[in-house]
């Protein structure tokens, strides 16, 4: 009996180590693909013709949709950045989704809103009551919808889609700042390949700590908060290399809801965003892909690694935990909803590569990690683990994890160069090491809880993250760092 117990504990310990190594190896391959693509793109720098796209009459107009719930801390900065986009034709549709703070009052005052009769362009179902629709009288192309909240971001976005009038819709989080030409860059694939491209996304970076001025990130800086620093590395790895790699394999699943551009007609055709989904962004992409595939219509999902959207990331473990639980819950919903696509070659690389990866490593990963780590601890406690061997294996896993992050940091420095201060780069490198000890395990725990919530079919509710804003007291007109 004792022998069997020992075998089980040891087996679990080695499983988690092997699993971690396998995951890191796969991620390293994805990162290599991404790095290769980024390196190739460097040679083409300057030949993209952004000025031509700005001037071209073929460039489609864009509706920027911003759902906001209690966003008084940064909403004016977000709107300034959105309305200040260097783009030939756009409108901004802000949805005040049942805010209980001054979000609406601030916008109403700044843009001198006037109530209007809504001009509907679609009939997507919206569960929260539309209270009123307003338009700016300052000359800015801004429409504001006030609606009752039902605790779902997708509901707010569907309300915005019903009034959006342009052929492309860009979904943007209310705590995000777009760089001046971000929209132009992310729209480029739609201009160049309008028959095939259905969705495109850009890079999200952590804004905490950056020096901002009236909606513009003047100097990207890294926060002093280590939790934010680790997330900064995580975002670099995920966006600069991970998504570039997946896109290169034609298997990109996720266009971030914080900054993604979509063909409006298709979004309406599939019935808008699924109000039951917590991962509405990924669900939208997969639903669009499935719809196009079934219709035999062409479809390309593109990732553009250059345009940047700066967003606030959680500064406390409590908020981070809530966010990551929600993501994991949303992923479980997504995989269940589209379960027939998993492993299905009819859906190309998405069906055979991306969805199985997300199932085995993203969704079930925390189960293996948490139970595996517990078994390692138990085995060590019982004295049945060869500590020397385990240390070597753990060291290798740690090294591979660090290599992934270091590659992302190297690509950032060699190519995009947003962080220019030496101390920020040092902090990024340190964060890349530190995240493997503590953060990664806590992350697995949060994701496991999200998975459990999904299995228990807990009613999903969208709760906005507490915001601190981009530029605060006492001098909003000066260059001040966002709280770090």
């Amino acid at each position: 009996m004792n022998e069997l117990f020992t075998d089980i504990v040891l087996g679990a310990s080695w499983t988690v180590l092997g699993y971690t190594l396998l995951l890191d190896t796969i991620m390293f391959c994805v990162v290599l693909l991404g790095a290769r693509r980024v390196a190739e793109a460097r040679h083409w720098k300057g030949a993209e013709g952004h000025a031509e796209i700005f001037a071209s009459p073929l460039t489609p107009a864009v509706s920027l949709l911003i759902p906001a719930h209690d966003e008084e801390a940064g909403i004016l900065d977000t709107l300034r950045a959105a309305l200040g986009q260097r783009y030939p034709s756009l409108e901004v549709v802000l949805v005040d989704d049942g805010s209980t703070d001054r979000t609406f009052d601030l916008v109403a005052e700044r843009y001198r809103l006037t109530e209007i009769n809504p001009r509907r362009t679609a009939s997507l179902p919206v569960r929260g009551e539309i209270l009123s629709v307003h338009r700016a009288t300052t000359g800015d192309p801004l429409l504001v919808i006030r609606k009752a909240s039902v605790g779902q971001k997708s509901d707010a976005l569907n309300a915005a889609l019903n009034l959006a009038r342009h052929p492309l819709v860009c979904m943007l989080d209310a705590d995000s700042l777009l760089e001046e030409d971000a929209l132009l860059r992310v729209a480029r694939p739609f201009v160049e390949d309008p028959d095939n491209v259905i969705a495109a996304g850009g890079v999200i970076r952590a804004a905490n700590g950056a020096v901002t001025d009236r909606g513009t990130v003047v100097e990207p800086r890294l926060s002093r908060n280590w939790l934010v620093r680790i997330q900064a590395v995580e975002y670099l790895r995920s966006f600069l290399l991970g998504r570039t790699g997946w896109a290169d394999a034609n298997a990109l699943l996720i266009i971030s809801g914080a900054f993604g551009l979509f063909r409006r007609d298709l979004v309406v055709e599939i019935g808008g965003l699924d109000h039951r989904s917590l991962g509405e962004d990924a669900d939208l992409v997969v639903s669009m892909l499935a719809h196009q595939q079934r219709a035999g219509a062409p479809h390309r999902v593109v990732f553009v690694p250059e345009p940047v959207c700066w967003t606030e990331v959680p500064e406390t473990l409590r908020v981070l935990g809530r966010q990551r639980r929600r993501w994991s819950h949303g992923l479980a919903q997504l995989l269940w909803k589209h379960r027939r696509m998993i492993g299905n070659p009819r859906f190309g690389a998405v069906g055979t590569m991306a969805l199985p990866f997300f199932l085995v490593f993203e969704l079930l990963g925390p189960v293996v990690e948490v139970f595996g780590l517990a078994s390692v601890a138990l085995a060590a406690g019982l004295g049945i683990l060869d500590l020397g061997t385990a240390a070597v294996m753990l060291g290798l896993a740690l090294a591979v994890g660090t290599l992934l992050s270091t590659t992302a940091i190297a690509v950032e420095v060699l190519t995009y160069r947003r962080y220019r201060r030496g101390r920020d780069l040092m902090a990024l490198v340190l964060a890349a090491v530190v995240e493997n000890v503590g953060y990664r395990q806590a992350h697995a725990w949060y994701r496991l809880r999200g998975l459990v919530a999904a299995l228990a079919r807990t009613n999903p509710v969208w709760t906005a993250m507490p915001r601190v804003g981009f530029s605060g007291d006492p001098a909003p007109a000066e260059l001040v760092p966002a709280r770090s």
């Binding site: 040891l10 087996g11 080695w14 190739e40 040679h43 083409w44 030949a47 031509e52 796209i53 071209s56 009459p57 073929l58 300034r80 950045a81 309305l83 200040g84 986009q85 260097r86 756009l90 006037t114 209007i116 009769n117 809504p118 001009r119 509907r120 362009t121 679609a122 009939s123 338009r135 009288t137 000359g139 800015d140 192309p141 001046e180 739609f190 201009v191 160049e192 390949d193 309008p194 028959d195 001025d213 009236r214 909606g215 061997t389 070597v392 294996m393 060291g395 290798l396 090294a399 591979v400 660090t402 290599l403 270091t406 590659t407 940091i409 190297a410 420095v413 060699l414 030496g422 780069l425």
Partner: protein, 359 residues
């Protein structure tokens, strides 16, 4: 359970070495970047007088031609950056300078380079710097195995400005190595009105994608001579839906009242809501009051987007359309909110967004 510890240790050492190499590269690049930037700026300051001397063509400057021709390669970068901003004789002077310095001939040689980015850069350079001299060689790259190179070739042909490239570009929209229509469209627009006669002929071309693109471009040019052919496309119920929609939109841009009849027919008879919507929008652009009644009928359409487009079109018809809208808005019918929304639009024009940073 045995683990090949030697192999694991070796792998760990290799990964650690890789990390160290990457970190060293990061540190070196970070430290050297500032130095390289200031060096580039200094060189630019030194070389700019040479460019000015070439443009002024003033012998009193005392800069021998041999100095200009023997200047470092950074001069070529400066000239290539300047070229898109110049027109006429200045542009031609700099083109000649690049040719004399061997830049153009090196680019021609690079058109068959092994690496795609070198072919792409070469064809881009020729588009900016070589005028219409190498159109055939550039057009050959429209069938390159690399999509990026094909796109670069299309853009270059647009910049080169030779209308002889129109047929090549249109041909590149279809086939095994087809180019995205947007890239071809922008290149064709770059060629300007000289491309119009060939574009009109292409409206009856074989490929739907190409016909739709041509219809869109003729609309952007506002070419009234193309209106009859575009009207035929809108009328043809067997034609591809996308082509009919694009043709309808083009007719709206051209604005000829002769197009009212086919557009009204599309609005009232089509079963494609997207075509109906486009036809309504086009009728609004044309502004012909004879479309009032069909547009009023469109306010009762099942599709919300068609209703909104009809209301907007009525608002654009002037006094007659506005009066009809006011009547509908005052009623209790299902179309009243759409009519009122369109009237609200009329009463509050929206201007373009301000540049970033403006409070």
């Amino acid at each position: 359970m045995t683990v090949p510890l030697g192999g694991v240790l070796l792998a760990g050492a290799a990964v650690t070495a890789l990390i160290i190499v990457l970190l060293a590269a990061v540190a070196a690049v970070h430290l050297l970047r500032g130095r390289r930037t200031s060096r580039d700026e200094r060189r630019k300051r030194e070389l700019m007088p040479l460019v000015h001397a070439v443009l002024d063509d003033d012998p009193d400057d005392g800069i021998p031609r041999s100095d200009v021709l023997g200047a470092p390669a950074d001069l070529d970068e400066i000239v290539l950056d300047l070229l898109p901003q110049l027109r006429g004789s200045d542009r031609e002077t700099l083109r000649l300078l690049l040719a004399e310095r061997g830049v153009v001939s090196r680019a021609v040689a690079d058109l068959s380079a092994r690496k795609p980015w070198r072919r792409g850069r070469a064809v881009s350079l020729l588009g900016s710097a070589a005028g219409t001299h190498h159109v055939a060689a550039m057009a050959a790259l429209l069938a390159d195995r690399s999509l990026e190179v094909r796109c670069a070739a299309a853009r270059a042909l647009g910049k080169a400005g030779d209308p002889g490239a129109v047929a090549h570009l249109l041909h590149a929209v279809a086939g095994e190595r087809a180019l995205p229509t947007g890239v071809v469209g922008m290149a064709l627009l770059d060629l300007g009105t000289t491309a119009l006669p060939i574009l009109r002929d292409a409206l009856t071309g074989e490929h739907g994608a190409s016909r739709a693109l041509v219809a869109e471009l003729l609309g952007v040019h506002g070419d009234p001579s193309a209106a009859p052919a575009l009207e035929d496309l809108v009328r043809d119920a067997r034609e591809d839906r996308g082509v009919r929609r694009t043709a309808a939109a083009a007719l709206g841009r051209i604005g000829s009242p002769t197009s009212t009849e086919p557009l009204v027919s599309a609005l009232t008879n089509s079963t494609d809501p997207r075509l109906q919507r486009t036809a309504a929008e086009a009728l609004g652009r044309i502004g012909d009051p004879t479309a009032t009644i069909p547009l009023l009928a469109g306010l009762a359409d099942d599709d919300v987007a068609v209703r909104a487009a009809c209301a907007d079109a009525l608002a654009a018809l002037g006094a007659e359309g506005r009066a009809s809208l006011e009547q509908v808005a005052a009623g209790a019918g299902a179309a009243a909110p759409d009519a009122q929304a369109a009237l609200d639009e009329l009463d509050g024009p929206v201007r373009r967004p301000q540049p970033a940073g403006v409070a």
